[in-house]
């Protein structure tokens, strides 16, 4: 249905692209069409943009010259015009010249590039350090020195709309695939050090407006920095193939004034405390299932699928699986969610006892799994103690 709507714009945009191709003017390129690299919101991103434009201009000019000469000769030196071919076959001076000129051009591009790179490399004197860890498929952020850890999953409406043939219009979804449940909140105007690493496979942390991306490599840490000059919400996503959820690992950075940032840190500390505080309260089946469904969508669905069938040969089905059905397997089931197994990640750190209790209950009482088993937070507490 939105197809039609696009078709209306389509011809116009095609013409636009073609003309942009021929007139490569930076103004057109930079319009809100998303044709060109963003100038971003940091000093570095601005420099990167300038370096990009310089190179683009240089190669465009070279291209116009080379192709110009070529077309000139295509038009004038054609047999149908009755020309006789020349016989010349080399000229040392010309060949030396067109070896030297590109060399000089390259050197003059390499010099500013070297300077820019040196500036990007300098992470000293930063005031805040955040460690970003890539998981299949979410990000974890540790505010070093603040004792704040948050997990950032793709927002639930994007998860739903992105299921195959979900019937939900991506256009009607808020920032489809580029929205998270929790944003990384950072203060503006401060030098922030961002460490990247990963838990399972290689990911890459990328927010275009900051002007760089960096791989997150399991077992190693990469050091980066940024100074965000403008308040706002900046979106990016994982930029290194990390398995089937690679397209579903958005990053949202919220840049706020420093005051707001401090307040947010304090608030988050409190919230985390109450969230992680294990409740000795007992929940009803309906409460657990309702909560569990949300946890499932955010954490399990990517592998085990909405229908609990998994993907044959890669991720096992939990619908009908003995681990999720037999009563004697309840402890093993809880254990596997807390500690992971093989490719399945450990969720013990990122999910609270209540979350784990509810997702296990949900899994055991959904699809064909009709066990009636109820798992309470205290069961999870017991499992963690072992």
């Amino acid at each position: 249905m939105y197809l039609n709507e696009w078709m209306k714009n389509f011809l116009f945009k095609l013409v636009f692209v073609v003309s942009a191709f021929f007139f490569l003017s930076p103004d057109i390129l930079h319009a809100e069409w998303g044709l060109n690299m963003t100038q971003g919101v940091t000093p570095i991103s601005q420099d990167v943009y300038n370096m990009h434009m310089t190179t683009l201009y240089v190669v465009t000019v070279i291209g116009i010259l080379v192709f110009g000469v070529m077309f000139w000769s295509i038009f004038h030196h054609r047999k149908s015009k009755g020309v006789k071919p020349s016989k010349f076959s080399h000229s040392t001076s010309v060949e030396v010249i067109w070896t030297l000129i590109p060399f000089i051009i390259i050197v003059s591009l390499a010099i500013p590039a070297t300077k820019l790179l040196a500036r990007m490399d300098d992470t000293s004197e930063s005031s805040i350090t955040v460690k970003a860890t890539g998981y299949q498929w979410k990000w974890k952020y540790d505010y070093i020195n603040e004792d704040v850890t948050i997990y950032s999953n793709m927002a639930e409406d994007s998860v739903e709309a992105s299921q195959r043939n979900s019937g939900i219009d991506p256009k009607a979804t808020d920032n489809y695939l580029r929205n998270t449940d929790t944003a990384l909140v950072l203060p503006v105007g401060k030098k922030i050090r961002i460490l990247t690493t990963a838990n399972d496979v290689i990911h890459a942390w990328w927010v275009p407006d900051l002007g760089w991306k960096r791989d997150a490599i399991p077992g190693f840490i990469n050091d980066n920095w940024t100074i965000i000059n403008k308040e706002g919400v900046y979106r990016g996503q994982c930029a290194e193939l990390c398995g089937k959820g690679h397209g579903y690992m958005p990053i949202v950075v919220k840049a706020v004034p420093e005051k707001e940032y401090t307040a947010w840190i304090e608030g988050t500390k409190l919230a985390l405390k109450s969230k992680n505080a294990s409740s000795d309260k007992d929940f009803t089946m309906d409460e657990l299932r309702a909560k569990g469904e949300g946890v499932y969508k955010a954490n399990c669905l990517a592998c085990h699928q909405a229908n609990g069938q998994g993907i044959k040969g890669v991720f096992p089905a939990i619908d009908g699986s003995p681990l999720a059905n037999l009563k004697e397997n309840i402890p093993a089931h809880i254990h596997q969610v807390i500690y992971g197994k093989g490719v399945m990640p450990a969720f013990g750190e990122q999910l609270s006892d209540t979350d784990i209790a509810s997702v296990v209950t949900f899994v055991r009482n959904n699809w064909g799994n009709k066990t009636g088993h109820i798992i309470q937070p205290k069961d999870v507490v017991a499992a963690r103690k072992k």
Binding site: L195, T197, F220, N222, D223
Partner: protein
């Protein structure tokens, strides 16, 4: 049948496609085995038999062509180039593993322990890890086999070095004997070379046994064990192949093959043997000694 000034173009031959099929079967068997399929070993054996059959058949047709004088000087040069560049490709194969060894020693292990580029890595991920080579304590000791000790260069490896160097000399003596048409000497020196090669493999196998059963040094002993076993393992495999090839040459010599001026197969095997020798020197220096 063929005149010497015409470059020998073989008749259509079934061996190339038999070779591809045999390798294909072997690979499937290997893959099945790795995927824990119990029938894998039968397929693997079938493929290996196919490979042996192919080699026997292909080489026997080459040998009979050679004996019947089909190959002129130019064909000989093609064979030489073929063998030379094949050995070069083998050198590059080993280079990948040597590269891994140098990378680990010079870069990744020091980084993990916080040197240079690795400050943050060490600080946040492996605060307890200290670089050392040989590295008996891994960054994450839990998931790898710690070993008691490594194999010192001065023991068996030094003896093995002598053995291989000597075998390089003996095969050269064999070559001289061939050129002087002293067939008895030729066979004797070849036999000596095979024996030295076999002794090398025997001692090496003993070292592996020692490493596994007493030193607890295994493939899974972190990057040290990985590079150690893959480098020496692939080398040992090449020595074995080389020894088999020399054995084949020995049998042909006994049968009276090869003449003073026409013995490409002999030389090819000798080149290969020297290559194996040189790789060992690299191993001895960089794996055992330094």
């Amino acid at each position: 049948m063929v005149s010497k000034d015409i470059y020998f173009i073989p008749e259509p031959s079934k061996w190339p496609i038999v070779a591809s099929l045999a390798l294909f079967t072997t690979f499937i068997g290997g893959a099945m085995l790795l995927n824990q399929s119990s029938n894998g070993k039968y397929v693997l054996i079938l493929g290996a038999m196919g490979i042996i059959y192919m080699f026997a058949g292909w080489f026997s047709s080459v040998i009979s062509e050679s004996l019947s004088g089909s190959y002129n000087r130019q064909v000989d040069v093609s064979f030489r180039m073929g063998m030379g560049w094949f050995i070069f490709s083998e050198v590059m194969f080993f280079a990948a593993f040597f590269g891994a060894l140098f990378y680990a020693r010079v870069l990744s292990v020091p980084w993990l322990s916080g040197e240079g580029h690795g400050v943050a890595t060490h600080q946040f991920l492996w605060p307890a890890f200290k670089a050392a080579w040989p590295m008996s304590v891994m960054p994450n000791p839990a998931s790898f086999t710690a070993y008691k000790d490594t194999i010192p260069a001065t023991g068996i490896p030094a003896i093995n070095t002598l053995l291989l160097l000597t075998s390089g000399v003996t095969i050269t003596f064999a070559h001289w004997a061939l050129k002087k048409v002293q067939r008895n000497h030729l066979c004797a020196w070849l036999a000596a070379t095979v024996l030295l090669g076999a002794l090398f493999v025997y001692l090496q196998a003993g070292e592996y046994h020692h490493a596994y059963s007493e030193l607890n040094l295994k493939l899974s002993s972190g990057i040290y064990g990985s590079t150690f076993f893959l480098l020496t393992g692939f080398h040992g495999f090449h020595v074995t192949m080389g020894a088999v090839m020399i054995l084949a040459i020995l049998f042909r010599s006994l049968k009276g093959h090869f003449t003073k001026n026409d013995h490409f197969a002999f030389e090819a095997v000798a080149w290969y043997w020297h290559f194996v020798d040189v790789v060992w020197l690299g191993l001895f220096i960089f794996v055992y000694w330094l």
